[in-house]
Structures are given as structure tokens and as C-alpha cells.
Amino acid sequence: MPNFIIDLNIMPRDSVLDPQGEAIENSLRNISGLDATEFKVGKKITFKIRAANRIKCSEIVIKLCKKLLVNEVIEKYTFKINDEKN
């Protein structure tokens, strides 16, 4: 079975206040004077999965997200499946 490398991106939902993003925005505005807005801070998790194919792999990723990696009350996620480079 092939290995796949997963790139999981977790972001706060739009409806959830993101005080970290806000703090960054205020700070950058103060030091740069530039108008950069809508900062959101999330997290990225990478890991490896052995699976028969990409569809099976994707099912496993979603299961792991629901089980532990993501709290869907406040977070949303996207992921990329990459082939392992030998």
C-alpha cells in the first residue's frame, strides 16, 4: 500500500472571534501604517497515512479530524493529499 503525506489546515470559523488575528492586525497597522486586514490564525498539521488509494486515505483523514484533530464547533478544515516522495 502506498504512503500519502497529508497537509491539514485548520482555521477558526468565520463566526468565531479570532483575538490572535485581531491582535496581529492592530499591531501591523501600528508599525507599518499599511491597510492589511482580516487576519486569521489557524494551524497546520502534517502526517503520513498508509492507505489503498486516495479515496480511502481521504476517508481516514476525515475520520481523524472528527475524532480529535478538529473541533467543528469553532474550526473548519481543508487538506491536501500528496504522494510520498521516495
Binding site: V16, L17, L68, V73
Partner: protein, 233 residues
């Protein structure tokens, strides 16, 4: 005479309030109490489980998330579903939301700081955990957390209000839920909620830290006495 109640306190790597709770339950209130390590399986012959505060698993990933996957957690869910009393204090509250035993979740305080101070709380005495408080009584209990900002979507908030599940709310000394008495940004000033059945409670403040005369404040003791009272009738 009141019969003794059997308490169990769960202990995860990084938990640090288990001894405070143990002291109050066993030494001050003279109840039966044991501390259960997280990779034990059984919660038997117990009336009330306390999930105490701390930084279980270093708050990795999300506060309470790793603890929610522990061996003991499945049994905690079973215990709660059978109607057993469960108290989650601070990190314990975060663990109970991650277990979905309580609705909503706790996110970073709006000021991004760890806040440690005494705050005023308005008490809803219509629960097994607060039956010895007066209606809408204002009490003073310390908080100590960086992630105590209660969040839930509008539907859940409405349900919490309609079902009378909001048990503790941040307020000023007159009992008004003023925005400037909200230390962490919690929606509806929520500091503690129960599940729908009313047998599981989570709260961010630490009643175990103000339950002895030596602290010059015993506002917290009736929280623990209430559940003893409940299990005696």
C-alpha cells in the same frame, strides 16, 4: 444524619488541581474520595466525578482535547449517560466540552492573557450543584485561565437559555451581567453550564479555592455541599 457521598477525582498528566479538590472533599467535607489515574478504566461505586483544573497534556492541540481521548473517558461518558453527577472545573470544563458531554466550547480570552483574579458570579440555584445558594445570589470565586471564553452558536445559546442550563454568569456586584464584568469575552457572560439533563456541569471559576475559612471566603463550599445534599434526598 447525612450519608457520605462517594467522589472520584480524575487525574490526567498535567492536571494540577486534583489535590485542592481532594482536600476539600475528604478533609473539609469528610466525604469518601479517591483520585483515579487517566488510564484506569473503571468508575464504579461513585456518586460524583470531578474533572479538576490544570493543563492536561500541556494544552496541546486544543485545551482538553487529548484528555478526552483517554482510556477513562469512555467510562466517564457512560457514567454521565446513566445520570451520574459530573463536575468539570476549568480545564475539566474544557475536557467535558471536548467529550461533548456539555455544549459549546472554550476559546482564548479576548485579551489573549492568562487571567487570575476574583470575580463576581450570579448563581442560578435551580440545579443539583447549586441548590444551597439563594436565587440569583452573587458570589465571589477566583478564575485562573487563558481559555475561558465560552463560545456556542446562536441555536445552542438559545437552547441553554430556554432550558435554564446557564448556572453561573459573570456579573458586577449588583448581579447585573455587565459587559465590563465579563473577564474573558464569554457569550452571554457564561461562566458555567449544565447539560440538558442537569447531571453534568462545567464551570471556569474555582470554587475549591474558596471553600475554607482560612481563605477569608467560603463562597465555594456550598457548591460541593449542594451535590452532597442532592445525593442525600
Amino acid at each position: 444524619m447525612m450519608k457520605k457521598i462517594n467522589f472520584a477525582i480524575l487525574n490526567f498528566p498535567g492536571t494540577n488541581c486534583e489535590h485542592d479538590c481532594f482536600h476539600i472533599i475528604s478533609k473539609v467535607l469528610k466525604q469518601n474520595c479517591k483520585v483515579i489515574w487517566h488510564n484506569e478504566r473503571s468508575i464504579s461505586k461513585v456518586d460524583c466525578v470531578i474533572v479538576p483544573g490544570g493543563f492536561s497534556y500541556g494544552d496541546y492541540l486544543r485545551t482538553g482535547s487529548i484528555a478526552s481521548q483517554s482510556r477513562i473517558s469512555n467510562n466517564l461518558i457512560k457514567f454521565a449517560n446513566q445520570g451520574g453527577s459530573v463536575i468539570g472545573i476549568c480545564n475539566g470544563f474544557q475536557i467535558l466540552t471536548e467529550l461533548e458531554l456539555l455544549p459549546g466550547t472554550l476559546i482564548r480570552n479576548t485579551n489573549l492573557k492568562f487571567i487570575c483574579k476574583d470575580i463576581n458570579l450570579k448563581v442560578n440555584n435551580n440545579s443539583r450543584f447549586t441548590n444551597l445558594y439563594n436565587r440569583n445570589e452573587v458570589i465571589r470565586i477566583p478564575i485562573a485561565h487563558a481559555e475561558g471564553n465560552y463560545y456556542a452558536d446562536k441555536k445552542i445559546l438559545k437552547r441553554l437559555r430556554d432550558n435554564n442550563q446557564i448556572i453561573f454568569s459573570y456579573c458586577n456586584e449588583n448581579g447585573d451581567l455587565a459587559q465590563n464584568s465579563n473577564p474573558n469575552g464569554s457569550l452571554l457572560n457564561i461562566a458555567g453550564v449544565t447539560n440538558k439533563k442537569g447531571n453534568v456541569i462545567g464551570l471556569m471559576p474555582h470554587p475549591e479555592r474558596v471553600s475554607e475559612k482560612i481563605f477569608n471566603n467560603i463562597d465555594g463550599i456550598r457548591f460541593f455541599k449542594s451535590i452532597i445534599n442532592y445525593h442525600n434526598y
